[in-house]
């Protein structure tokens, strides 16, 4: 029988992972939705954020300062990329976008290897954050609670930004009908740059916060990017709400699947078979979910585009 | 009672609460040109899309040759003999004019799971295709890449592609859109040549063309038919004149 404490703990970890996915998915889904742009380099910004934060944190002994530097630094890199390269690709086909952003990934991975070396960087947590809080008589790491808190705060901020402000109105209009926003005489280029920069900053935030949990490594961006793509597909391109629901769903399923699938399999499979099949099945779980969602709702759970 | 090839019954489609077609009913007789006119936004193109199967209707029925085709996808309707042209030219820009039409012929010549023989060497595709180009007066432009044809030629090519599917009913969505006077005249004479051999549902803004060609006219306003009859009846109809025709239709 599964220990309920363990169950709760892993559920908690799943939510926390989902929050990280959300921070990445929120910016990227807007880029996909509004600009109809295939951007693979989003993961590179996440990696960059993680490395910068880690470096500053280690040098200054201040984790907060690390985040404070990583965010604007990555934001600047993101805006630079948008203005110099990506902007020229909006009118091109998806294939050109794929290829160019793929080139960016190669570049950034190699750049990080050149600067920081092939080994990853472990980021130590400041001792204040490195303790547990007991919730329902279960000890939970304070840092992860904070990550969830920050993620929820960002979600709230994005919600207000997108639903309540004029810029958000334009962003939403852009996601459902690009020509219309252009026709309104609004400088769509500025909105694009703004959205891209916002996405870059959120990616950096996710990367900086992921540092102490997973360590900063080369290729960390791509591994998580694929899961972020699954989140976006499930949630529906261009939908923040979809990204939030999708991210939590994928985060929880991913973590819970890895922890409990073999216990589940053992209920109806021989122990040996269960132990072989479970890891394989766990690694496929979210993709199977994606295929199912697509089968019934090809536009995702919360399609932003109408008509 | 004449032969009815297309019968539309209470067709309805709304976009987010706005009714584009509103309980629209009409019948098209075999061999006739039936024109549908109406102001912009009257739901004419929506109706064409519903008839061709590109849009699902909210309610109502479409009977074609006595068969209910309401739920069918575009390829199935095409196979039954409904061909359409698009208001905004829709062709294969990378192909030559002849290849465009040959592809339409191919669509109605059995399945295309034929992997080996070069399609461009098949006379049974290219002879009918050339014939269709001749009908619309494009035969001498057959080997030109479609991208390089003029706007008027694009419209002619669209008609040739529709004809190549040997349709029982042609749905023509503003074939004269964006044309100069001379090109329009050419199109009218092409359509006149098709008259009798083909049944046509014609949407058109050019009133001279409509009254020159149509056997029957239906006037659409806000997705609903407000009048239907012979051209003379429509010309004389007070309601139509106030709602739509105004001076334009009676000027000559």
């Amino acid at each position: 029988m599964v220990d309920p404490h363990l169950l709760f703990e892993q559920l908690f970890n799943g939510v926390q992972y989902g929050i990280l996915l959300f921070l990445l998915a929120a910016g990227l889904t807007l880029v996909f939705g509004i600009m109809d742009m295939m951007n693979l380099a989003h993961g590179s910004l996440y990696m960059l954020g993680a490395y910068i934060a880690a470096t500053v944190a280690l040098a200054t002994d201040s984790f907060l300062l690390g985040i404070a530097v990583a965010l604007p630094a990555t934001l600047i890199v993101g805006i630079f990329l948008e203005v110099v390269i990506l902007r020229k690709l909006y009118d091109r086909g998806h294939l050109d976008q794929v290829l160019a952003t793929f080139g960016m990934i190669l570049f950034f991975n190699e750049l990080v290897r050149l600067i920081w070396g092939p080994a990853g960087i472990e980021v130590p947590l400041p001792s204040i954050l490195n303790q547990s809080v007991t919730l329902f008589s279960i000890p939970l790491p304070l840092y992860r609670i904070l990550v969830i808190g920050v993620g929820l705060a960002v979600a709230g901020f994005l919600y207000i930004l997108v639903v309540k402000t004029k810029i958000g109105m334009l962003i939403r209009a852009g996601a459902s009908n690009r020509e219309m926003v252009g026709a309104l005489g609004i400088d769509i280029k500025k909105i694009f740059t703004l959205v891209f920069g916002l996405g870059a900053a959120l990616a950096a935030l996710a990367g900086a916060m992921a540092g102490p949990i997973f360590a900063a490594t080369i290729g960390m961006g791509e591994n998580i990017l694929i899961q972020v793509l699954v989140v976006i597909v499930i949630g529906g391109i261009g939908s923040i709400r979809g990204a939030f629901v999708g991210a939590l769903l994928i985060g929880v399923i991913e973590i819970m699947g890895r922890s409990f699938l073999d216990d589940l399999f053992k209920l109806f499979l021989p122990v040996n078979a269960a132990e072989t099949a479970a890891p394989a099945a766990a690694s496929m779980l979210i993709y199977i979910l994606m295929a199912l969602v697509l089968f019934f709702r090809p536009q995702g759970l919360f399609p932003a585009r109408s008509g | 009672m004449a032969d009815i090839v297309l019968k539309v019954e209470k067709l309805r489609k709304s976009f987010g609460g706005v009714l584009a077609t509103d309980d629209l009913s009409l019948s098209v007789e075999t061999g006739k040109i039936h024109a549908v006119i109406g102001p912009n936004g009257a739901g004419k193109t929506t109706m064409i899309a519903q008839l061709a199967g590109a849009l699902n209707s909210d309610s109502g029925r479409v009977l074609f040759d006595g068969e209910d085709i309401s739920g069918m996808a575009p390829p199935a309707r095409s196979r039954r003999g409904i061909a359409r042209t698009f208001q905004i030219t829709s062709i294969f820009h990378e192909f030559t004019a002849l290849e465009n039409v040959a592809l339409a012929v191919q669509a109605h010549d059995g399945h295309s799971f034929r992997f080996w023989r070069a399609a461009r060497e098949e006379a049974r595709l290219y002879e009918p295709a050339l014939a269709a180009l001749e009908t619309v007066g494009l035969a001498d432009r057959a080997n030109i890449t479609a991208r390089n044809l003029s706007h008027g030629e694009h419209r002619q090519l669209e008609i040739a592609m529709a004809l190549a599917t040997k349709p029982k009913l042609l749905l023509l969505d503003e074939p004269m859109a964006g044309m100069g006077a001379e090109e329009s005249q050419k199109m009218v004479s092409i359509l006149n040549r098709l008259k009798g051999d083909h049944t046509i549902l014609l949407i058109e803004h050019d009133m001279d063309a409509v009254f020159a060609l149509a056997d029957q006219i239906t006037v659409l306003v806000y997705g609903n038919s407000i009048a239907s009859g012979m051209p003379d009846e429509i010309r004389a109809n007070e309601e139509v004149r106030t709602a739509y025709l105004g001076d334009e239709g009676t000027a000559n």
């Binding site: 390269i85 | 820009h93 023989r117």
Partner: protein
């Protein structure tokens, strides 16, 4: 239809490839043989991707998964001491067909950015499956105990025989592609890339043709996988990694999409660039990444497009 310049490029390319074993033996650098084999195997993979991407407009970012599946079937068969190629190869191709059918049926329900992401995700799923298959080497991969056995016909253990087998199979694939794209089927695929709405309106149920093309391309990529397993004597999940799919896309675009010679030339140039750049610096992707961006921004149409443009006066239809 092959354009004259394209035919010329192909003849030169295959002539060069044909003499590689000879050059390798007189210069006593067996590495050339290795390089040539790798080029041709990837050329088969790129050809197959070009079929759906270049001609069919289906931008699959997971095409390497079929290379991996083909290779894994060979590896798994060998692991269970089933070494005869007469069973291994059909089995591998069949497996690729089945997976391509399933993946195609799922992803072809979508279009545009969705299609790219889904093919990518499905391929990555198989990558993780490979990683978690401890029985077959997991992350580390699976050494091939012996190459596919075609006793009495050809010895794949002999490096020259393997080279020429790959050479012939590449030619065969090229020939198949040429027939396919010019057939009725090929016209449907290209028509759907050009204007899918129009295809529907003139009566083509497009989905089934696209799915068939997806399966054919998957099987052809599977052949590349079979050859890759025999070439490296080794199978690992990395063959399915999404960057491998990215490599295939790069090859197709580098050479020129939607032409028959393009993917082959692209694969050759890609491998050469990789070798040359990594000879210059360990951090060669620092150069290659921006190079890709520049290609996208300034050299649309790839190498073949470049050649065609220079010779465009010979076939003007305007």
């Amino acid at each position: 239809m092959l354009r004259r310049r394209e035919t010329l490029v192909l003849i030169v390319t295959f002539a060069l490839l044909a003499i590689v074993p000879y050059i390798a033996s007189i210069t006593e650098v067996p590495f050339y043989l290795d390089l040539g084999r790798r080029m041709m195997i990837l050329a088969i993979g790129a050809l197959s991707l070009n079929l759906i991407m270049g001609y069919g407009g289906m931008i699959s970012f997971g095409h390497a998964v079929f290379v991996g599946i083909g290779a894994y079937v060979i590896g798994i068969c060998a692991e269970h001491e089933l070494v005869t190629g007469f069973i291994q190869w059909p089995l591998a191709l069949l497996a690729c067909a089945v997976f391509a059918f399933i993946f195609g049926a799922i992803s072809l329900r979508t279009r545009g950015v969705y299609f790219i992401m889904i093919t990518l995700a499905l391929a990555q799923m198989m990558y993780f499956l490979g990683v978690s298959l401890d029985r077959y080497g997991g992350d580390d991969g699976l050494p091939l105990a012996e190459p596919s056995d075609f006793s009495g016909l050809i010895d794949l253990g002999d490096k020259n025989s393997l080279y020429y087998l790959i050479f012939v199979l590449l030619l065969l694939c090229l020939w198949i592609c040429k027939r396919l794209v010019n057939s009725r089927f090929g016209m449907v695929i290209q028509g759907a890339r050009s204007n899918e709405t129009r295809m529907q309106a003139i009566g083509f149920p497009v989905f089934r043709y696209q799915l068939t093309a997806f399966v054919i391309a998957g099987v052809m990529a599977g052949l590349a996988g079979i050859l890759l397993a025999n070439h490296t004597d080794f199978v690992n999940p990395d063959m399915m990694h999404w960057t491998r799919s990215g490599d295939l896309i790069i090859m197709v675009l580098l050479g020129g999409m939607g032409s028959l010679a393009g993917p082959i030339v692209g694969a050759l140039v890609f491998i050469l660039l990789e070798e040359a750049l990594s000879g210059v610096t360990e951090y060669w992707q620092l150069i290659f990444g921006p190079f890709l961006i520049l290609v996208v921004l300034f050299a649309r149409g790839g190498l073949l497009g470049f050649l065609e443009k220079r010779g465009s006066s010979e076939e003007d239809d305007g």
